[in-house]
């Protein structure tokens, strides 16, 4: 579904991604792990188009999209829940979610909204409240919910469990699984690597802007290097 071919990306003159190769097949959950500053966020930003690629190709469903504007990529079915939540602070929770469906104003929107509210009941409770007065974890839920509202084919999640209570981490991971069952493909960046790899079909390990390892979720979980470097075991 998505192939990333030799993507290079930079802030100013400093290259952060060095020819990253990566593939996500339709219906997969792919986990991306790596330490602080490895370039995980940068990679997701490059995929959603808010960060330009310096070179390389991104092919989504057979179409090269690396030159497309972010909104054009959203139309094609790529949606991202960004790092740092990035909610529309002064807008209400409900407006945030509706804007998530900005490019998908279809009959299914109502249902998706209900779905998000079912997943995160607290959002329903606070639907009229300005997003900036939510707690950190609540904002994280909102960011994930907003990404879901776009009914994406490919969902990019940047540290979805960040700041969430353990109970909710379970729920989020379960939800990701459920999404997979609905046919949504997920590319998941997580610091909680053990949990992420546990639900992932495949995973990649990123180190200073390069893919240094790939394999099935289980294989990586059991890889001794991964275990010491990322799982702390």
């Amino acid at each position: 579904m998505l192939t990333v071919e030799a993507i290079t990306s930079a802030y100013g003159r400093i290259n952060v991604l060095h020819e990253v190769w990566l593939e996500v097949k339709a219906g997969e959950i792919v986990a991306l792990v790596g330490s602080n500053g490895a370039g995980k966020t940068t990679l997701l930003r490059t995929l959603s188009g808010v960060q330009p690629a310096r070179s390389g190709r991104i092919v989504f469903e057979g179409e090269a999209i690396e030159r497309l504007e972010p909104h054009q990529r959203v139309v094609r079915g790529i949606s991202q829940s960004p790092e740092g939540r990035q909610v529309f602070g002064p807008l209400s929770v409900e407006d945030n979610l509706r804007l998530g469906a900005y490019r998908r104003q279809d009959a299914g929107m109502r249902a998706r909204l209900d779905h998000v509210f079912a997943l995160f009941p607290v959002l329903a409770e606070k639907r009229r409240i300005a997003a900036m007065s939510l707690s950190g974890g609540q904002q994280q839920m909102l960011a994930i919910g907003r990404a879901l509202m776009a009914a994406p084919k490919l969902l990019l999640l940047d540290e979805p469990s960040l700041g969430l209570a353990p109970l909710l981490v379970d729920q989020i991971l379960a939800a990701v699984r459920a999404l997979q069952a609905e046919g949504i493909t997920v590319l998941l960046v997580e610091q909680n690597a053990s949990a992420a790899l546990a639900i992932a079909d495949r995973g990649y390990v990123l180190e200073t802007g390069r893919v240094v390892m790939e394999g099935s979720g289980a294989a990586l979980l059991n890889d001794p290097k991964v275990r010491t470097a990322y799982l702390g075991l």
């Binding site: 802030y11 792990v33 330490s35 602080n36 500053g37 966020t41 790092e83 740092g84 607290v122 007065s133 939510l134 707690s135 950190g136 974890g137 609540q138 994280q140 839920m141 540290e159 960040l162 700041g163 969430l164 209570a165 353990p166 109970l167 909710l168 981490v169 379970d170 729920q171 610091q191 909680n192 690597a193 053990s194 949990a195 010491t228 470097a229 990322y230 799982l231 702390g232 075991l233």
Partner: protein, 262 residues
Amino acid sequence: MSLLEVRDMGISFGGLRAVDGVSFTVEAGQVFSIIGPNGAGKTTLFNLVTGIYRPSRGKVTLAGADMTGLAPHLLVRRGMARTFQNLQVFFRMSAVENVMVGCHLAERTSFLADLLGLPSVARQNKVTREHALALLGRVGLAHLADASAGALPYGALKRLEIARALAASPKVLLLDEPAAGCNAVETEAIDHLIADIAKAGVGVVLIEHDMKLVMKISDRVLVLAQGRPLAEGPPRVVRENPQVIAAYLGDHGAREADRAHG
């Protein structure tokens, strides 16, 4: 007399009792953790204790002195420093400058001396910078000292805030989710750091959702839910409280918590 005493804190936002009658005490050298579901009021409690919000009721005393309602910068003077859940970094400054700002209270220059550029200012700058570099080293960011804070990855920024808070040489340090955005290995480093800080006699108040971290290093844990205390006690006791498991930990959290004590 405890180092930090919080009595019956409370505040409401338009009908929502975000924090409702919370009390706790922290001793020097202790790690005191506050956990609870999202929206339980943990961050709000921090904001009340550190003077960012004015409490509608309750009292804060630090080393016996009443601190309630004191402006944040005065609280720092009395020995209270914190980090923020929503990053509050000086993004246009370099990493080391961020920490140097944290040293503000220790700096012995006056406005006039600064204006006139007296030699004492240069000396002070040198001292401050060295101190800041040492602190950056302590949180593992020495190699990024001169990088612009705006260019640091998320996990590094969290540690930068810790270094900045430490720069104020606090008696009480309040950390709001310091390990968010760090993987297991990085979290472990933070874990050692916090233990070190506490060992040096600082009272640490910690908000964190990483149960491995919390259960491992906390002396006591307070669980909040919907603004009210749900349970309080040593980690071992808290993590077995069925109410806490149901409201907060879930299976995963309980597992993680167990793993901490392995």
